[in-house]
Structure formats: structure tokens, C-alpha cells
Amino acid sequence: MSGLLLGMVYGLAAGLLIALAALFGVWWERKVAARIQLRYGPQEQGPYGLLQTLADTLKLLLKEDITPTRAQVGLFRVAPLIVFTPIAMSLAVVPFAAGWAPLDIEVGMLYFLAVPSLSVIGVLVAGWASRNTYATIGGLRGAAQMVSYEVPRTLAVLSVVLLAGSLRPLDVIAAWRPWWVPLNLIGFVVYLIASIAELNRGPFDLPEAESELVAGYFADYSGIRWAIFMMAEYGGMLASSLFGAAVFLGGPALIAGPAGVVVLVLEAIAITTLMMWVKWTFPRMRPDQLMGTAWKVLTPLALVQLVLVGVVLPWL
């Protein structure tokens, strides 16, 4: 019973955290994109347009909830939640400070890599239930892409696991040393690229490719259901950058105690900004090139990283 209560409290907290991150993240992304594109971005609502996303969210909440007549109603309605929930769940194992994570489990690293990939089911369901050719293609592209990029992403994290000798995120933080950063540099880059692909963000935003598939798997969604997809994207970005900052850049390990969370958040913002920078600078890849990048470039690079760590390890 207490476990259920705890779960509910955690769910609420994760939801709120993601909502806050999305509120800030959307504004930040629009500002970053605007600077890159010789524009100003939002500036009317609140100081520096900070309240713009809040206004947009209110608008989305008040919009009519439209379900296309051809859609499979039940699946169509539940799909955004299938995408969102695993992302929210993945936040549970992020080591926010040295010695503290919301959920301290032995296989936390594996959990973080495995659970968010469940959202691929939601992407497929959304694409299929919309009964729209664009959405179907988007859903199928998304499935292939997310499954492929899991491999290099997992391999990249594996080298950190190897160094720490533990799958428990808190142990990784405890064992973390500054010289891991140069040693894991390849792994970090692979993790970053694979995470962007995993989140379906540019230049790997093929499942939603605006110029080809209109909006891909969520082409038929509007209002709050569409907003949940967006929240899943920003939530995923939050989780990936927090986790990447923790295990690769050692966020909470740099300063002992609760202050570590500040370092972690700053590093995560830097990683998120990098992701946005990439998105707004590069063109989009083609499906076959995307697969080629995953299997012919990133996976071998991650393996090279793993071998590198494996060779160095006995001398430590």
C-alpha cells in the first residue's frame, strides 16, 4: 500500500518536473533557435517572453479534443500516454545528488536505457491508430530508428559501467573521476547523438519530418494530446541530458551534498542547448542514411570506446 502511495507521489512529482522542464525548455529552444536564425523569438508575454509557453499550454488545454473519424479511437487516445509514461519513469533513477536518486536500484543504468525505449510502442500505436498514411510511415520510421539507436546508446553507457564496475547509478557517481571525461569522450559523443535520435529530434526527426510527412506519427493529434507528445520530447531531452551529465560529466560528483544538483542542472542545460544548436543548424537525414549512421558509424565507435576502456582498465 505504501509502495502504491509512493508511486503516486513519484508520478506526480515526475509529471510536474517534466511540465516545468517543458515550460522552460520550449521557451529556451525558441530563444536559441531565434538567435541562430537572426530573429528575436518570443518577447511579449512576461519578461523576455518567459510566459509564452504558459499561454500556449493554456490554449492547448482549452482546445477541442479531436479524434479523426477514421482513427481507432481507444488506441488513438491512449498513444500519447504510452509515449509519455516511460519517459517519466526513466527520471526515477537519475542520480540528482551524490548518494541520492529518487529510486535507488541495483540495475539503474540498465533501467534507464531500457525503460524509455518502451515509448517506441506509443509511437507505433499513434502512427497506426491515426489511419493516415503519413502517420503510418512516421510511426514505422520511428520504430526502426528508436530500436536501432538503442544499440550504440547502450554500448556507450556500458563503458562507464565498466569503469565503475557497477550498474547502480549512485555507485557510478561515487566512483566517478575527472579523467573519465577525456577517456569517455567518444562514448559521450555517441551517447549524445544516439539520444538525439532516440528522441526523434533534428537532424534525426524523420518520424515527424515536417517537409515530408507533415508531422508524422502525430499529424492527426491536436490540443492537449499533441501537447503530451511535446512534453514527452522535452521530458526525454531532460532525462537524457540529466543522465548524460551525471554519468559522463559527473555532475553531482563534482560537489558533495545537495549542491551537486546545481552542477548537474547546469551541465544538463548545456547539453540540452547543444542538442538545440545541432537541431537548428543541420538539415535532416534520409531514412537509409540514418540507419547507416547508427550501424556503420555509431555502433563501431561505441565498440571502439568499449575496447579502449577495456584495455585501460587492468592498469587502474
Partner: protein, 380 residues
């Protein structure tokens, strides 16, 4: 890389269409169709096996409407043909009228026509490159290109009061002389142009993803380009040296020193890059024209009710999309008996059917963008 579709026994349903095939209706309202183009794409997986462009969604009957208007009243109609490059249709039409009615154009007017049309070429190519970039997902490049275009449109606004439909070139000359300070404005723009184009070249054409997306995609051979009646950057991207400014040097073009950039591979990358180099050449032409131009009248004394002798005339110019021609038939009355526009966008668009099969759906969009169709001119 070109993907090939293996030929194999197809399973078909009752209506005879293959069941392992997905038919996607792209457009007429779609983020990447550059207007109201509809393409019926047959897909096998991601690969397009057949692409049929369906046109006519923007048909306004401009050629028919022209028959009920006087020769001067037709000029604003021609604005609406190619709304990304209105100056061209103005000019092509006016040249036909001038040929039909035997009107001589003052030299300053010819210079003004060259200056505005070359600026228009830059603006139109920026639109083409920008939307090609947007098709590949590079929205930043789109805005960089549009920033250059905006400067030109502002200049046009100052010159003739309109941003898109200028009605500037008139039979016998142009509507207005340059406003005060315009020459300096234009010169400053042309001087800064090279840097801007070089920046775009680095940002977009130098990008590894762009090269992967556009190189080797939609390869058009020089023979096909000629055979299908392609012209403009689409033909020149395939290495066909055909530019009416050189090959049928009209107006004052023989007095300028400029190059005709040619591609060699004939793929989307070359077609887009030819446009970038052409924009640079246009900048140099404008600079030369500003140097050479002398004061004088900008309009020949032409009656408001031109009634040419009975007969026919055809004249063409090099628009941003290719050879744009206007054919006029007169029966001696003050209204054209028949007007027919030879639209380069129409001929170039037909190539989609040849270029798209064998490529992925993502490439279809890029190929369509590289042909740079403007549907006001395709549908007329």
C-alpha cells in the same frame, strides 16, 4: 546513393493495384509542395515507384482573361503568373507587345529592366534555395536566404510600391524612374551580396548532411534535360549551356560581362548550387548596369490603347526558372486575340515523373524543390 526497386512478381488486389504498395497523396496542401502541387506517390516501403504530379489547382485562366483586356491591362495579369518573379512575366509580355506594335524602348528603360530582373533573379533563387533547404529540414538556411530576399523586396517596394506584384515593366518602358538614393541602396546591397552567398555556401552546401541528401539524388542527364524541354537552372545543372541572356542576347545584355554557371552531375545539389552562383553573377550584372546607365526617359510615348497590326509575335527572356516566352496574336483590335505563355516551370515540373522513381519519399520532396516550380506559372 540511388536505391533500386527489384522487379518481382507483384501481388495485386481486386482493383489491380499492388497490395504491397502504399499510395501517398502528397498535396495539394502540404508543407513542402511549394504551392498547390499534388503528387500521387506510389511507395514500396520508403521507395517511390511512381510519382504523378497533378496540376491545375491554381488555374485562374489568365491566358483567357487576357483576351478581354486591353494590352496595358494585361500587364497586372502577368504579375500573377510567376508570383515569385513577377518582373519576368511583365518583361516577356511587354517584349511581345513591343515586337507586335513596333515600339522602341528607351535605353534607360532597358537598363532598369535588366537591373530589376537581375535583382528579381537573386530574390527568386533565394526562395528556391531557401525552400530546398527547408525541404531537407534546414530551417535556418531558409531564413538566411529569406533575409537576402527581403532586402530586394524592400528595394522593389521603394521603386514601385509593391512587394510581389510589381506591374513595373510596361509596354514601351517601365512605370517609374529610380527614386532618390535607390542607386546607393542597390550598390550597398550588391557589395554585401558576395559575403552573404559565401556564408550560405558554407552553411548549407558545405554541410555533410546536405551533400548526402542532395548529391546523386534526382540525376538528370543532359540529353533528358534537352529532350524534356527543361531550361534555366534545371538544364544548366545538367551541364546544358543554354541561357537566353547569352544565346539570344536580348535587351542590353551583350554589354555586360558575366558567366553562365554550369553543373556537371545534374543532381539536386548541382541544380541548387547553380542557383547560388547565378545569384552572384546577377549581382555583378546589376553593378555593371548601375555604372553604365545614363539619364534619360524611361518610357516611350505609347498610346493607352495600343492597337497593333493584325499578326502574331513571340518573344522570350531568361527568367529565374528558364526560358519564359509569351506568344501574342492580334486581330488589329485593342485587345489581344490570343495569349499563350511558354512556362519554364511547367516543363521543368514534368521531369518529376522521370526523376523521382527509385528514390525515397524524402528524396521526392527534395527533387520537387530542386525543380523550383511556381504554380502560378505552371497552372496559369
Amino acid at each position: 546513393m540511388t536505391l533500386t526497386v527489384e522487379s518481382r512478381q507483384r501481388v495485386t488486389d481486386a482493383r489491380g493495384s499492388a497490395i504491397d504498395e502504399l499510395v501517398v497523396n502528397v498535396g495539394p496542401s502540404h508543407p513542402s509542395t511549394h504551392g498547390v502541387c499534388r503528387v500521387i506517390a506510389h511507395l514500396e516501403g520508403e521507395i517511390v515507384t511512381k510519382a504523378d504530379p497533378v496540376i491545375g489547382y491554381l488555374h485562374r485562366g489568365i491566358e483567357k482573361m487576357a483576351e478581354n483586356r486591353t494590352y496595358l491591362q494585361v500587364v497586372p495579369l502577368t504579375d500573377r503568373l510567376d508570383y515569385v518573379g513577377s518582373m519576368y512575366a511583365n518583361w516577356a509580355y511587354c517584349r511581345s507587345v513591343e515586337r507586335l506594335a513596333g515600339i522602341t524602348v528607351p535605353e534607360r528603360a532597358e537598363y532598369l529592366r535588366v537591373i530589376t530582373c537581375e535583382l528579381q533573379r537573386i530574390a527568386s533563387h533565394m526562395m528556391a534555395i531557401g525552400s530546398s533547404a527547408a525541404d531537407t529540414g534546414a530551417s535556418t538556411m531558409f531564413l538566411y536566404a529569406f533575409e537576402v530576399r527581403e532586402r530586394i523586396i524592400e528595394m522593389f517596394e521603394e521603386l514601385c510600391g509593391s512587394r510581389l506584384t510589381y506591374n513595373y515593366v510596361r509596354p514601351g518602358g517601365v512605370s517609374f524612374d529610380l527614386p532618390e538614393g535607390w542607386v546607393d541602396l542597390c550598390r550597398t546591397f550588391c557589395e554585401g551580396l558576395t559575403d552573404k552567398l559565401a556564408e550560405m555556401d558554407r552553411l548549407f552546401f558545405g554541410n555533410v548532411i546536405t551533400r548526402g541528401r542532395m548529391k546523386g539524388v534526382g540525376v538528370l542527364s543532359a540529353e533528358d534535360a534537352v529532350g524534356w524541354g527543361a531550361s534555366g537552372p534545371v538544364a544548366r545543372g545538367s551541364g546544358v549551356d543554354w541561357d537566353l541572356r547569352k544565346d539570344d542576347a536580348y535587351s542590353v545584355y551583350p554589354r555586360f560581362d558575366f558567366e553562365v554557371p554550369l553543373g556537371d552531375a545534374g543532381d539536386c545539389y548541382d541544380r541548387a548550387r547553380v542557383r547560388l552562383f547565378e545569384s552572384y553573377e546577377s549581382g555583378t550584372i546589376v553593378m555593371q548596369a548601375l555604372e553604365q546607365m545614363e539619364p534619360g526617359p524611361v518610357n516611350a510615348p505609347v498610346s493607352r490603347l495600343i492597337a497593333p497590326r493584325a499578326g502574331e509575335a513571340y518573344d522570350h527572356i531568361e527568367s529565374a526558372r528558364g526560358s519564359l516566352g509569351v506568344y501574342l496574336v492580334s486581330d488589329g483590335s485593342p485587345r489581344p486575340y490570343r495569349m499563350k505563355v511558354r512556362s519554364p516551370a511547367f516543363c521543368n515540373l514534368a521531369l518529376l515523373k522521370v526523376l523521382a522513381p527509385g528514390h525515397t519519399l524524402s528524396d521526392l520532396v527534395v527533387i520537387l524543390g530542386s525543380l523550383d516550380p511556381v504554380f502560378g506559372e505552371v497552372d496559369r
